[in-house]
Symmetry: C2
Subunit: 188 residues, 2 copies
DNA sequence: GGCCGATGTTGACGGTGACAACATGCAGAG
DNA sequence: CTCTGCATGTTGTCACCGTCAACATCGGCC
């Protein structure tokens, strides 16, 4: 994860990145069921089995993709926090908004990061990749407990919205404001 | 879903129920990856195509299993609400406890109900199956918005706990009490 | 008693993840 | 400059899976 796409390899030119890009596109366009290792290889213009030189298994590819998602999420959260710090606004609500915007913008990737696919206990790197995002959120809360609650709240909200479980209700920003605000108010 | 295991069929004796039971056992013991339609049929003692007489596709079987999970969750929530009503306690916290207990007791099934597997928009019966559980929870909140928030909170908490994302922290009941209490406090 | 539809079986096909053996080409040692 | 080693990519193969089609079996209804 440090210099994660290593220096361009010999034959293809950064095949891992190409594989991850193809995988993300397939995930976005055809859902997780349409994401086969062979199709990923096909889209990347290499033969099946080429991916095995970079990812020991299909799950590992998915785990790497999910880890990339966590990095992006962290970047989004950091940006929101910085933007809130400039305007002097309380950062928790903007962070929640940014979190939900990310989940809504990349639903398939979000579902891969949580829930579906690679089990975190079999891919410890994935769990580690999620830590920075949590730390960014925790930096905006008084204590760790409040951070856990805030994360749980926005995460649960994101999932309920994605599942269409509350779709007919007011899914607009008011809902987010009200629910997050209620939580923030309780901590004051 | 009304009389959902229909009258015992001819040859086997309630094959659908046997299939669902086998599927749940496989899901619990070998994870969602080890849940193949053929293995389910094998465990149920029928040939590999027998399930197709009752479920049009593998996803449909999973959706039915998830729906059964929602029914069980609703039963658990109802019981908790009734128990709280007897003692005169405010019902929201007991409900949250019961919800998290359910998620912890059946992690694989819970992950199937949300997140993984059958997409709710392709199996509307699954979304419908989730409604009663939500209604049970909503009956313990002042308005629909508060219900959505409470559900999101416990749901997110359940997922974070399952992912081991906050495992090293205080995962005991205190965390649940504090986080849920904060939310309840904010709504007062 | 005999038909008919629901239920279960056998067989087949394309696709997939994974393994093994083989080919290719850069990179550094001599 | 050449040769050798190793990372990278390929071809071939295997078992398994989901699904479709054709066939067999059994109970209820006329």
């Amino acid at each position: 994860m440090s210099t994660w796409p290593p220096q361009p390899p010999y034959h293809h030119g950064n095949l891992p990145a190409a594989l991850l890009a193809a995988a993300e596109r397939l995930l976005r366009e055809h859902g997780p069921a349409g994401l086969s290792l062979r199709e990923v290889a096909r889209q990347a213009g290499v033969s099946h089995n080429a991916p095995y030189r970079h990812f020991p298994t299909r799950e590992a590819l998915l785990a790497a993709l999910a880890a990339e998602g966590f990095h992006r999420l962290d970047a989004v959260l950091r940006e929101a926090a910085a933007s809130a710090a400039q305007t002097g606004e309380a950062p928790l609500l903007p962070l929640g908004r940014a979190y939900l915007r990310f989940a809504a913008a990349h639903p398939a990737l979000y579902r891969l990061m949580f829930g579906a696919g690679p089990r975190k206990d079999e891919h410890p790197a994935l769990r580690a990749a999620a830590a920075p995002a949590f730390a960014t959120l925790a930096a905006c809360t008084p204590d760790r407990q409040a951070a856990i609650g805030a994360w749980a709240l926005v995460h649960g909200l994101a999932q309920l919205l994605q599942d269409g479980q509350v779709a007919e209700e007011l899914v607009g920003p008011e809902l987010i404001e009200a629910v997050l605000g209620r939580y923030v108010r309780g901590g004051a």
